[in-house]
């Protein structure tokens, strides 16, 4: 999705104002003139200036406010995009309960099938890859990946 300079400029002005209001509530360092608010305050000022410049430029250029890339109109490609994001969200919410190996295999399987890998090889590669990552990070590098529903395997 492409945003025009006008929209971006407006958004930056809002962001700058929000930061300005937020940092004005910061406490001062006792005995110091320069505290936690100074640096973000300067950033906000900079963002406001850039926002204003972008806004002015955008108003002159009169470009459409939003432009969508061609892929957003091709349903399979848009679905790919959503699936990659969805896969990460799925991992974030399911990893603890299902465990790494189950979540990882499912995540891979879904993506493989969507991207046109044949079902048999998709399943085999998904399971093997998740297993290899688990061995590599859990056994070798001692990263506490969650076991989840496969807890019974932890003792093997």
């Amino acid at each position: 999705m492409k945003l025009s300079d006008t929209v971006m400029g407006g958004l930056l002005l809002v962001l700058a104002a929000a930061i300005g209001i937020y940092v004005s509530g910061f406490p001062r360092m006792p005995g110091q003139n320069y505290g936690a608010a100074l640096f973000p305050g300067l950033i906000a000022a900079g963002l406001a200036a850039c926002g204003a410049l972008l806004l002015a430029r955008g108003l002159r250029a009169k470009a459409p406010a939003f432009e969508f890339a061609p892929w957003t109109r091709a349903a399979p490609l848009a679905a790919n995009f959503a699936l990659v994001c969805g896969a990460l969200l799925f991992y974030i919410f399911a990893a603890e309960t299902l465990g790494f190996m189950a979540t990882g295999s499912l995540l891979l399987l879904a993506l493989f099938l969507k991207l046109g890998v044949r079902p048999l090889s998709a399943t085999v590669v998904a399971v093997v890859a998740a297993l290899v990552f688990h061995l590599l990070f859990y056994k070798l590098l001692r990263v506490p990946l969650p076991w989840g529903i496969l807890q019974f395997m932890a003792g093997w």
């Binding site: 505290g35 100074l38 973000p40 091709a74 490609l77 990460l88 974030i92 993506l111 090889s121 506490p144």
Partner: protein
């Protein structure tokens, strides 16, 4: 001398050497596969190097990136698709040579001049870094403030395209760096009650998001095309190289110098170096009309430039902690994790580590000759690796890798958010490099700014009272006001005529 001997001992031991060999193979693979970049190779290596001692960890990154920047040339020559953005400048030219039946010559030149550029950049790094560190020892917060600001400004100015968007990108990066407790007042900023955000957004997950997840998203929305390889059999790539070298030694030298300098400038790396070197080569060539028709001259110059830029970027990274490109931006994060905080003190406290980095640089560039040869021979196999299997696996690796840094699922949300951010920035023409630099350098900028303000009691003139600070300050202001001044001059001259 004892330090150099120690450094050799640190590099030439089975563990480090096997790390180097493995990361060489990894780097060649990543570079040769279109859509996977050298920066992505670095981001993917970090979770693994996290568990290594400092020298092998750095060695892995140095080796993998050097190999990746070379092997990015391979699909350029054989498929007309650059393997990494650093090869994009001369992809059409290489492919034109392949079509003329000169695949061996172009691949040989890619390899040989990558090695030459890489070694040249390394020599400059070895000679200049310790000298600069001597100077940097005398720096106070004023000099550091200007140096950081100068680096950030040049990162914005050198970005191809729109400087205003570059500034926005930089400011957003600085804003992200302000998140958390890590500020002079140790006051929690922008945390909104989140415990995870107290420690700021993790640098490594952020990089994985920006450089790996965003590439996977880009892959996901591009229509699948079957890999078309022009040439099936590749003969002897080393034939005729000596002649090329004699004919184009000036070009090779010019490319290496330009590459090293561009690499050392913050924010610009191998890709910009290659574009600039190719343009310079065409401009100064005796046969500019041959450019674009399959002429090796520009490939020699740009091929040397992108590899020398890699080493050049390490100069400001090691001496000042200011990254020269996005790869060294990640490296600086790794150095801090390893307790090898970049800056002049490391040259005094741990010279053996620095020497070890230098040795690895030489080793990696020399290893490129046999490894690169194998990669060219295996090109057909590498280019046929199905990307619809590879990309999901990389995605899962990003998940595990980011989780491994702090063992929290929060890191996985970070890679998602920054993956999307990286994708949308690229799509809207906002360069990513200034944002990364902003995040890395934000706290350094703030710290030196605040302590300078406190020292000088708010007098801004104090920022110009020490000679080096004044010089750096004036240079920074010149960079800022140059576009305005030149526009003003142009208007004046236009109204006169």
């Amino acid at each position: 001398m004892a330090d150099i001997a120690t450094a050799f001992g640190m590099v030439f031991q089975p563990y480090t050497l096997s790390v180097i060999l493995l990361s060489a193979a990894f780097g060649l693979l990543v570079g040769a596969i279109p859509g996977l970049t050298a920066t992505m190779a670095t981001a993917l290596l970090v979770p693994v190097t996290f568990f290594m001692p400092p020298v092998p960890a750095i060695a892995a990154i140095v080796t993998a990136t050097a190999m990746a920047i070379f092997s990015g040339d391979i699909p350029g020559a054989l498929m007309r698709i650059p393997g990494t953005p650093a090869s994009a400048a001369y992809t059409d030219e290489s492919y034109a040579m392949t079509r003329k039946g000169q695949a061996e010559t172009v691949l040989g030149a890619d390899l040989a001049f990558s090695v030459i550029g890489g070694l040249f950049g390394t020599v400059v790094l070895v000679l200049s870094a310790p000298q600069l560190a001597e100077i940097a020892l005398k720096f106070s917060s004023f000099e550091y403030f200007w140096l950081v600001l100068l680096g950030l400004s040049s990162a914005v100015m050198i970005t191809v395209g729109d400087p205003l968007k570059g500034v926005v990108s930089l400011l957003l990066g600085l804003l992200i760096s302000a998140i958390g407790l890590d500020n002079p007042a140790a006051y929690p900023r922008f945390t909104f009650g989140s415990i995870e955000l107290l420690g700021s957004v993790g640098l490594i997950p952020m990089m994985i998001g920006m450089f790996a997840i965003s590439e996977i998203l880009r892959f996901a929305v591009e229509p699948q095309a079957k890999a078309q390889i022009f040439k099936k059999q590749i003969g002897n790539v080393f034939r005729g190289l000596w002649g090329l070298f004699r004919r184009y030694r000036l070009q090779a030298l010019r490319g290496s110098v330009l590459g090293t300098v561009v690499g050392a400038l913050p924010g610009a790396g191998a890709d910009i170096a290659a574009w600039m070197a190719y343009a310079v080569s065409k401009k100064l060539s005796r046969e500019p009309e041959k450019f674009g028709t399959g002429h090796v001259e520009g490939i020699v110059e740009a091929g040397a430039a992108n590899n020398s830029a890699l080493a050049g970027a390490w100069i400001p990274a090691l001496v000042f902690g200011i990254p020269g490109d996005s790869i060294t931006a990640i490296v600086i994060g790794v150095l801090y994790i390893k307790g090898m905080n970049p800056g002049p003190m490391i040259f005094i406290n741990h010279p053996e580590n620095i020497y070890a980095v230098f040795i690895v640089f030489f080793l990696a560039n020399l290893l490129m000759i046999p490894f690169g040869w194998v990669a060219i021979k295996a090109a057909k196999r590498i280019l046929h690796i199905p990307r619809n299997i590879l990309m999901p696996i990389i995605l899962l690796f990003c998940v595990v890798g980011s989780f491994a840094i702090n063992n929290t699922v929060f890191a996985v949300s970070v890679i998602l958010v920054f993956g999307l951010a990286g994708y949308f920035m690229e799509e809207n023409g906002y360069p990513v490099a200034p944002a990364i630099l902003g995040v890395i350098l934000g706290s350094m900028l703030e710290e030196n700014f605040i302590s300078s303000m406190i020292k000088s009691d708010g007098r801004l003139l104090a920022f110009f009272e020490r000679p080096i600070a004044a010089g750096l300050g004036i240079l920074t202001l010149l960079i800022w006001f140059w576009p305005l001044a030149s526009r003003g001059l142009r208007t004046v001259s236009r109204t006169r005529t």
